[in-house]
């Protein structure tokens, strides 16, 4: 059995705020192998970015990991010192951020920002680093790379900036690439190109990718496994085919129904999940989704369901009482037989 590259176990991440501590990510666990892609979906504010920032340990001054372990290549990232982390960041694990327009420093040239990173992790001269940076820019499909390298970010479009971010993130050949909504800010054609690019690079260098999106189309396109998050928790995990074929959790079902289809009659309204995500300050007791769930039962209000594997497929896990019942009854039937 191969050891997985990234193993997140029972991650709990919180922030200190003026109103006290808020827990943004609750008990998140997953694994990722080299060359594989995991997708994380969920509505805005459900903790996708915080999960990825926890892995990079870039939670800022107010955020901290309360519980859990994150092991990358056998190292527990939650235990590393700031100095040890600097060897991991940009080198073993790199991240592409959600906001391409503001993720590059406006007062330094593209070249300066890329070379800085390359020289941090590779023992090469500035001149070589520049040549290498140009190659990386060409690789991500930036035309006139020799000129672009001397430009300041404001001269580039959002799509170009995101390409620069990707080129930068990939320049030190990370084993893990975290892409937080890499295409959300971009228009559809550019979006397809960027995804294509990430796939090519993954296949070339066997990089593990963690891709975050609230767009199920992107997830279907890219991911091998999918985590569905709701209000800081994982509510369902499955391989991409299973998830799209037989989604189990009422929240996932809701998400699926809200995808627009071409064959949908124009008069027919797109389904949406009623209500909004509860705020972290007043999280409902029991199942966090019960306030919006069409199948809510008595039990959901009081007890919190666990994330549990469905019998038939070991990889498919759901956090919902509906299936708990199913399992129990199945077990009972088995016992009777």
């Amino acid at each position: 059995m191969t050891q997985s590259l990234l193993k997140v176990e029972h991650l709990q991440t919180a922030f200190r705020t003026g109103k006290g501590e808020v827990v943004s990510v609750e008990d998140v666990s997953f694994q990722l192998n080299a060359g594989q892609t995991i997708g994380i979906v969920g509505e805005s504010g459900c903790g996708k970015s915080v999960t990825s920032l926890s892995i990079m340990r870039l939670l800022g001054q107010t955020g901290y990991i309360k519980k859990g372990t994150i092991s990358l290549n056998g190292k527990d990232l939650t235990k590393l010192t700031e100095t040890e982390l600097r060897d991991v960041r940009g080198n073993e694990a790199a991240m592409i951020f959600q906001e391409p327009m503001t993720s590059l420093n406006p007062v330094f040239t593209i070249g300066n920002q890329m070379i800085e990173m390359i020289q941090l992790h590779m023992m090469i001269s500035k001149k070589e680093a520049k040549q290498y940076a140009i190659q990386m820019l060409q690789k991500v499909g930036i035309p006139r790379a020799e000129e672009v390298i001397n430009e300041y970010p404001h001269k580039l479009s959002g799509g170009m900036r995101q390409r620069v971010m990707i080129a930068m993130a990939l320049s030190c050949k990370p084993k893990l690439l975290i892409a937080d909504e890499p295409t959300t800010a971009l228009d559809v054609t550019i979006q397809a190109q960027i995804l294509e690019l990430m796939k090519t690079l993954r296949d070339e260098s066997n990089t593990a990718i963690m891709i975050i999106s609230h767009d199920l189309g992107v997830i279907a396109e890219m991911a091998d496994t999918v985590l569905v998050m709701y209000a800081g928790e994982v509510v369902e995990e499955a391989d991409v085919f299973t998830l799209f074929d037989e989604p189990k959790h009422p929240y996932t079902l809701g998400l699926m129904k809200s995808i627009p289809h071409l064959e949908t009659e124009s008069e027919e309204r797109l389904a949406s999940i009623p209500g909004t995500v509860p705020t972290l300050q007043n999280m409902p007791s029991g199942c966090r989704f019960h306030t919006r769930c069409p199948y809510v039962m008595e039990q959901c209000l009081k007890e919190k369901p666990k994330l549990q594997g469905l019998d038939e497929k070991m990889g498919h896990q759901v956090r919902c009482w509906l299936y708990e019942e199913e399992q129990k009854s199945e077990n009972r039937e088995e016992a009777v037989l």
Binding site: M56, L58, G60, E82, L85, R86, D87, V88, R89, G90, N91, A94, M95, F97, E99, T102, S103, L104, N105, P106, V107, F108, E116, M117, L120, H121, Y152, H154, M165, M168
Partner: protein, 316 residues
């Protein structure tokens, strides 16, 4: 860029005219006149009138102004009404000490204030931050004369570490260490307000920058926090800080007048006070003109630096 500078300089010309007209009016509106200020008790009314006539003080004010302007155009600043020396000579004699004092104060203020401002921002809400913000507030609010007199009392009179005033010990002109000893206290007084202001500026502009996405990117590359702050954040924070330089120069000029007077520093500030006392119109006008030019120039320089620090700004 060159075109822009030329345009700015051309715009400055009418501004300077305005400033000189305005200050000419103010100077002449002040009660008393140069002759009254220095008559000896034995002078007769006729003597006074002759003197006034000779100095051109009996002409209507606009004629006087035009007169002054025409002479200025010829490069003639006129003669002092009180010492009868050429105004230009007096200013040339005095400008060195003033530039030395201002330069020392500016360097002192920035060298201290910028690192403190950065530190205060990176450690927001720490005791250090509270300490520096309150201290810088005191620095801004404390009047120069009060701080100056306080320093003189403590360091010159009680402990006798520094001289009470002047630029050199009598009979010891030109000694570098001696000048330095005389310079320290007035430079500190002049620097205090500017440093206080600067700390607050640096702190608030760093605070705004420290939350930016691109710093997270810099950290995600594995960069040391020291460089994240002092390279990536600082260069962005410099952009608003540079504008303060344009504000600091006028503050410095105003401060120098008071500070030089307190410490008997032989510069333009002291000359200003003396000239006001004797209603020395030509000298006052020359000093005003120079101050106005200095302010306009410092604003122009600030704008130039602005475009150097921020690649997004291009003047044309």
């Amino acid at each position: 860029m060159f075109q822009y500078m030329v345009r700015r300089i051309l715009i400055a010309i009418p501004v300077l005219f305005g400033v000189t007209i305005f200050s000419f009016l103010i100077v002449n509106l002040a009660p008393g006149n140069p002759v009254d200020m220095q008559v000896n008790p034995y002078a007769t009314e006729a003597d006074i009138q002759t003197k006034k006539e000779a100095l051109g003080l009996n002409d209507p004010i606009h004629i006087q102004y035009v007169h002054w302007l025409v002479n200025l155009a010829k490069g003639d600043f006129g003669y002092s009404f009180s010492t009868y020396e050429p105004v230009l000579t007096m200013i040339v004699d005095r400008i060195g000490p003033t530039l030395l004092l201002m330069g020392a104060a500016l360097v002192l203020a920035y060298v201290i204030a910028i690192p403190i401002g950065i530190l205060s921002a990176t450690k927001q809400y720490s005791w250090m931050d509270y300490f520096t913000t309150s201290f810088s507030f005191i620095g801004i609010s404390i009047p120069n004369f009060f701080l100056g007199l306080g320093l003189i009392y403590i360091f010159a009179i009680t402990f006798q570490i520094f001289p009470t005033g002047g630029m050199n010990t009598l009979g010891n002109e030109g000694g570098l260490m001696d000048t330095l000893a005389h310079l320290i206290m007035p430079a500190i007084v002049l620097a205090t307000g500017i440093a206080g202001n600067m700390v607050r500026y640096v702190r608030s502009s760093m605070l705004e920058i420290l939350g930016q996405d691109y710093l997270r990117t810099a950290r995600s590359k594995g960069l040391k926090e020291f460089f994240v702050v002092n390279k990536h954040a600082l260069k962005n924070a410099l952009i608003p800080i540079i504008t303060v330089i344009g504000v600091d120069i006028p503050m410095l000029i105003g401060g120098a007048v008071v500070t030089e007077q307190i410490f008997q520093w032989p510069g333009l500030g002291q000359l200003t006070i003396q000239s006001i006392g004797s209603r020395d119109y030509p000298t006052l006008m020359a000093i005003n003109l120079m101050a106005a030019i200095a302010v306009l120039l410092s604003n122009l320089i600030a704008d130039m630096l602005y475009s150097v620090a921020d690649p997004r700004i291009k003047y044309n």
